[in-house]
Amino acid sequence: MKFVLFHLMPYRDLNFDEAKKYRSVWTLMPNSAYNPDKGADEYEEYIDQLVSGERLGYDVIAVNEHHQTPYGLMPAPNLIASALIQRTKKVKIGVFGRALPLVNNPLNIAEEFAMLDNLSRGRLITGFVRGIGAEYHTAGVNPAFSHGRFYEAHDLIVQAWTRSGPFAYEGEHFNFRYVNTWPRPYQQPHPPIWVPSQGSSETIRWSADPARKYPFVVTFSTSDAVSNYLKMYRTEASRFGYEASSDQLGWAAPIYVAETDERAREEARIPLQRLFNNYLPMPWEMLLPPGYSSMASTIELAKVRTGIGVQEQTLEDLIEKGTVVVGSPKTVRDRIASMRDKTGLGNMICLHQFGTLSNELTRRSMEMFSAEVMPSLRAKTLASAAAE
C-alpha cells in the first residue's frame, strides 16, 4: 500500500458565527475576513507539514485546487508544488488536481505540469478533476459544458505532452492552430494522471478504460460509497478485459491518530465537525449547478438530497459511516486494512490536517501514523483482496 500526505490548506482563523450569516463560506463569505499575516503563517506551516512527509516515509505529498473559499487556500496548487519540489529530494509530488473545465486554455495546464515534471526530474503525479459545483459560479464557466470541456481538455493536454508539435487541435470547446509546448514532460510518455472524484459511473468507466487505466481516488465518502465505487472500477476493468491493480484504487479520507480512541475522538471532534459542518457546506444550488451532474444523477441525488455538507454531522456520525478514520493506531490500522481487504485499495490519501486542527495535533498525528500505522499496512500486500 502507498501513502499520500494530502493537504487542503484551510484558513483556520475564521469567525464561524460570522460565517453562518452566508449561504456558504464558498464564493459568498467576504474575503475581508482573510488576514494576510495569519494567512502567510498558514502557508509556511502547511508547506513544512508537507515537506516533513518525505522524512516520515510517505510516498507522495500532495496538494489540490480550490477557488474563493477558506476551505482551501490553493487556487494555484502548482505554486505550492513548485515550492515542495525545491525542498524535497525523493518523494513524489501530487497535484490532485487541476480543474480542467474551469480554464479557457488547457495548454497552460499542460505547460505548467510539464515544467513541474522537469523541475522535479520526474517526481510529478498529476490529477485531473472537474472542480466542485461552486467553482462554476466563481469561474463563470457554464456547468452545462463541464463534462465536454473536461474530456476535451484532457485529450488536448495528453496530445500536447505526447505528440510532436506543432500540430493543430480542432475541438468543440477548444481550438488551437499551434500546439507545440516547451518543455515536454520529463516522464515518458507523460506524468501519471490520477482521477480524484466523488464517483460517477461515467467518470469511473472513463478512468478504467484500458487506453487510460488512470488511478481513481474516491474522496470524502462513506465507507459504503468508497467500497461501491472501487468495486465499480474493478468491475469496469474486468468488463474491459483486465484486472484492476491496487495501484489504480485510491481512497482519500481525513485521518486522526492518538494514543487511545477516546483521546483521538476528543482531539479530532471540533476540527472535523468544522470541516464537515462549516467549511464544506453549500446549498444545493452551489453544490450541483445544473449540468454539473447528468440529469439522471441529479434526479437521483435530489431524491435523497444527501451529499457532502448538506446535513450537519457529528463526529460519531462521521466515524460510524466511515467517512473519517479516527482512533488509536490499532483502530486506524484495522479500519484501513479492512477497507483494503474489501476493495483492493492500494493508495491511501491521508488528510491529517483538517478543519481547525492545530499544528501541534496535526504533527503528532502524522508522526504516530507514520510510526505505528504505515509500516504494518505497507508490509502486507493485498493478496486476499482481489479474491472477494
Binding site: F145, P283, P290
Partner: protein, 259 residues
C-alpha cells in the same frame, strides 16, 4: 375549452405546442420556467388571435438537441419555425428569457413579424445594475422573488409538483443554464443590433421585478427609440401572470385590436 396540443417537427427537432383561437397569429415565447400550462392570458388573447405557445427546444416535452447551445441558436430555430408554419403578420410576444429570444429573432428578420412585445426581457446588460442570480436561488426563494403579490407565490408553493413536473422543471433549469449561465442572462452582441428592429415594439415591466430591475426598461428604450415602455406598479417579474389583463390590453393596443 382546451387548446390543441401538437408535436411539431421543425427541421428534425420535435417540439410541443399549444394553440387556440383564430385571427392574427400571436406567437408567445415563454421564459426560463417553461410553458407547460395554458395561462389565463392565453385564454383571453385567443378570443382575438391565433395563439401559438411552443415549448422551446430543451424545455418541457420538446427535444433537446446538442447543437442548440445559445439563445441565438434558438432564435434561428424560431425563424425556421415561422417559415415552416407559413406564419406572417405575427404578433410576437416574449417574456424574460423568451423576450430575449424574441429580440434575437427580430434583429435577424422581422419580415414575418407585425409587432413585438417584450415582457421583462433578459438579453441586454446595464453595467452597474446586475440582474439577480437565479442560479443561486433555492426553490422557494425562486417562486417568492418572481411575484410582488405573495398570495400567488403562496398558492404555487402549496401545490406539490408531480414527478413529471419536477423532471420538466429540472430539464428547464438545465437548458436555462446552457443558454444563460455565462454571460449571465445577456448576449453582448445583441445590443449593437437592436436598431434593426423597426416594427411596432413595446416593453412591459413590473416595477417590483426582483430578477431584472425595471431600470432595464430604459436600456431597451435607448436602443429601440420607437418602443413604448410601460412599467406596471405592484408587479414582479411575471406581469403576464400577475397583471395578465393589463398585458393583454397592451398587446391589443399595440396590434390595433384595441377593445
Amino acid at each position: 375549452m382546451a387548446p390543441v396540443a401538437k408535436r411539431l417537427d421543425i427541421n428534425g427537432v420535435q417540439i410541443s405546442t399549444l394553440r387556440q383561437g383564430q385571427g392574427q397569429p400571436l406567437l408567445f415565447l415563454h421564459g426560463a420556467n417553461g410553458a407547460s400550462a395554458w395561462l389565463p392570458l392565453f385564454e383571453e388573447l385567443s378570443n382575438a388571435y391565433d395563439v401559438i405557445v411552443p415549448e422551446h427546444p430543451g424545455f418541457g416535452l420538446s427535444d433537446d438537441p446538442d447543437w442548440i447551445k445559445s439563445i441565438p441558436d434558438i432564435a434561428m430555430f424560431y425563424l425556421d419555425f415561422l417559415e415552416q408554419l407559413k406564419l406572417s403578420n405575427v404578433a410576437l410576444v416574449g417574456t424574460s428569457l423568451g423576450g430575449w429570444i424574441a429580440a434575437e429573432v427580430a434583429v435577424r428578420s422581422s419580415t414575418t413579424l407585425a409587432s413585438l412585445t417584450l415582457v421583462c426581457p433578459a438579453g441586454v446588460r446595464v453595467r452597474g445594475t446586475p440582474i439577480a442570480d437565479t442560479f443561486m436561488w433555492g426553490p422557494e426563494e425562486s417562486v417568492r422573488n418572481l411575484f410582488f403579490n405573495q398570495a400567488i407565490a403562496d398558492r404555487m408553493l402549496s401545490v406539490k409538483p408531480t414527478e413529471e413536473q419536477l423532471t420538466a422543471l429540472l430539464k428547464n433549469r438545465f437548458s436555462t443554464t446552457k443558454l444563460a449561465w455565462e454571460p449571465r442572462g445577456f448576449n453582448p452582441d445583441l445590443e449593437k443590433w437592436l436598431h434593426r428592429i423597426k416594427i411596432p415594439t413595446q416593453v412591459i415591466w413590473g416595477s417590483e421585478d426582483k430578477l431584472i430591475p425595471a431600470a432595464y426598461a430604459e436600456k431597451w428604450k435607448e436602443n429601440i427609440p420607437h418602443a413604448t415602455v410601460s412599467v406596471l406598479q405592484e408587479c414582479g417579474h411575471l406581469p403576464h401572470i400577475e397583471k395578465s389583463d393589463v398585458v393583454a390590453s397592451k398587446i391589443h393596443q399595440l396590434t390595433g385590436h384595441a377593445q
